[in-house]
Structure formats: structure tokens, C-alpha cells
């Protein structure tokens, strides 16, 4: 049987060191939930983009990881939140190549392509929360068979 141990967590995003912990946590959680290597890599990359946005644009915040399931399929839901300046024009922020700073402007739009579900909530002056969900392509095999 497979448990949510080591999957659910709330991690601070305050420094580039924290970005490393966020990536490592997401990779291990995805591996435990039975994600394949490509799915793991996509989700960790999306998490890295979103966590960096939380840090750089949002002035720091946190990531919450939750285990979700639908029938036999396991999923990982991540929420990145900050209490920073927020985003006034979401469509603009989500378009490829738009950056308000010196970035490439691929983080937000790219992360959206890398996950199965993507949702962004932002209030100018109050903060931003981005929620993403990824599903393991196949239900994980029970431990006994391995």
C-alpha cells in the first residue's frame, strides 16, 4: 500500500537554498506516488519555475504539497503562495516571453504546459497563489509486486 508519508509538506520559500529543498521534495514525493521519470522531471521543473517566481516576484512565501487521488490514479497538488505585489494582468503574465524583469518570461507559461492542471489567483497588492496538479500516468504498482 502506498501512503502519503513524505508527500505532504509545507515548505518556506525565502532563499535560493529553499528552491533546492522544494525541488528535492517534489521529486521524492512524485517518485513515491509512482510518477515516471519524465513526469517527475516535468513537475520538478514546473515547481522550480513557480517557486522562483514566489521568491523573486512575490518576495518569498511557501509551497504546500498535497497527495490527491482519483480512482486508482495518484496525483500531487502543489500550491505556491506569497503576499507580494500580485499580478495586475494575468493574461499578459501568462504569455510566452512576457517578463517584468530581466527574465526570459517562460517560467509561468512554461510551467503551465508542464502540468495537467493549472490555476492562478492573484490580487494586486495582496499576493499570488498558483496551484498545479500532476497525475501519475499509471496507478502505482503495489509494493508487494516489486
Amino acid at each position: 500500500m502506498h501512503t502519503a508519508a513524505g508527500v505532504e509538506a509545507c515548505l518556506p520559500i525565502r532563499s535560493d537554498m529553499d528552491l533546492v529543498w522544494v525541488r528535492q521534495h517534489v521529486r521524492q514525493a512524485a517518485a513515491r506516488l509512482g510518477f515516471g521519470l519524465v513526469e517527475q522531471t516535468k513537475l520538478v521543473t514546473a515547481a522550480s519555475e513557480l517557486a522562483r517566481n514566489t521568491l523573486v516576484h512575490g518576495g518569498g512565501g511557501q509551497m504546500e504539497a498535497r497527495h490527491v487521488s482519483s480512482g486508482a490514479t495518484q496525483g500531487l497538488r502543489l500550491a505556491f503562495s506569497d503576499e507580494g505585489p500580485g499580478i495586475a494582468d494575468l493574461d499578459q503574465a501568462l504569455s510566452d516571453g512576457y517578463t517584468s524583469g530581466g527574465g526570459l518570461g517562460m517560467g509561468l507559461s512554461g510551467a503551465r504546459r508542464l502540468v495537467h492542471e493549472f490555476d492562478i489567483e492573484s490580487t494586486p497588492g495582496a499576493g499570488t497563489t498558483v496551484r498545479v496538479t500532476c497525475w501519475a500516468a499509471q496507478p502505482p504498482r503495489p509494493r508487494e509486486e516489486v
Binding site: 513524505g6 535560493d16 537554498m17 528552491l19 533546492v20 529543498w21 525541488r23 528535492q24 521529486r27 521524492q28 521519470l37 519524465v38 517527475q40 522531471t41 516535468k42 520538478v44 521543473t45 522550480s48 519555475e49 522562483r52 510566452d96 527574465g103 526570459l104 517562460m106 517560467g107 507559461s109 512554461g110 510551467a111 504546459r113 508542464l114
Partner: protein, 139 residues
């Protein structure tokens, strides 16, 4: 089941000199500041030694996000200005798939499947002509 978090790479990444080429092996999870430090170390080492090539082995790198992708592209661009070519070798298939979906195709970056192939590529390429003629090593 106990899993240890792998130690993130901090500080300086070692830069090895093999004849006319600088070899850098990236491993595990890199700090943003470590990647930026490497970019600076490489430009200084190229201009000090006058090497013609830089080979970056990323076979041990599990993810390349837009930050690391941009650092690699900037290393290639700054090396070119210092008359050295850069080859990124050993990208994992999952990383390549992810980069394309992220929208980061890094067109300015030369790649090779292995460090051996990367070395061959650097050896085969015609030497770059330096605008200022042969460089004098300062004492």
C-alpha cells in the same frame, strides 16, 4: 524506507583544464548562486588561459529550468566573445523533453550526447580567430 536528500552543490564548481579545453561537470542540484559563480569563473579562466573550448557535462543534472538554461546560454555567448566554443554534453532525455515543453530550446547552444562526442566536436571545429591576434599571457 529512508531516503537521504542529496547534498546540493554550493560554492565553486571545479573547472578542469584538459589541453585547449575547460571541462566542467555539473552534478545534482545546483544553487542559483553556484551557477552564477560558475559563469563568472569560466569567463575569468578562459581569458586567463586562452583555451579554445568549454565542455559542460550535464549528464548528472536532473532538471534544467529557465534559470539554469539561461546561465548555460549566457556561458556559451560570453565564451564566444572570448574566442572559445561551448558544448553542453550528456543532457538526459527527460530533461530535453521538459525543456522543449517549457519553451526553452536554447538555439545558441551546441550539444553532444556524451563528453567524448563533445571533445571530438570541439577538436574538429576550426580554431576561432581572435580579433586581436595571438594573445600574450600577462605575467
Amino acid at each position: 524506507m529512508s531516503e537521504a536528500y542529496s547534498r546540493p552543490t554550493t560554492g565553486h564548481v571545479p573547472v578542469l583544464r584538459l589541453g585547449d579545453v575547460l571541462l566542467v561537470t555539473l552534478q545534482g542540484d545546483l544553487h542559483d548562486s553556484t551557477a552564477q559563480q560558475l559563469q563568472q569563473d569560466l569567463s575569468e579562466t578562459i581569458s586567463r588561459t586562452g583555451v579554445r573550448g568549454v565542455l559542460i557535462d550535464i549528464s548528472g543534472v536532473e532538471i534544467v529550468d529557465s534559470f539554469l538554461g539561461r546561465v548555460l546560454a549566457e556561458i556559451a555567448a560570453q565564451s564566444r566573445l572570448l574566442a572559445a566554443r561551448t558544448v553542453v554534453a550528456g543532457m538526459r532525455p527527460a530533461v530535453a523533453i521538459t525543456l522543449v515543453e517549457l519553451g526553452l530550446t536554447l538555439p545558441g547552444l551546441s550539444t553532444a550526447l556524451s563528453t567524448e562526442a563533445g571533445m571530438e566536436l570541439l577538436a574538429r571545429q576550426a580554431p576561432v580567430t581572435r580579433p586581436g591576434g595571438p594573445r600574450q599571457e600577462s605575467p
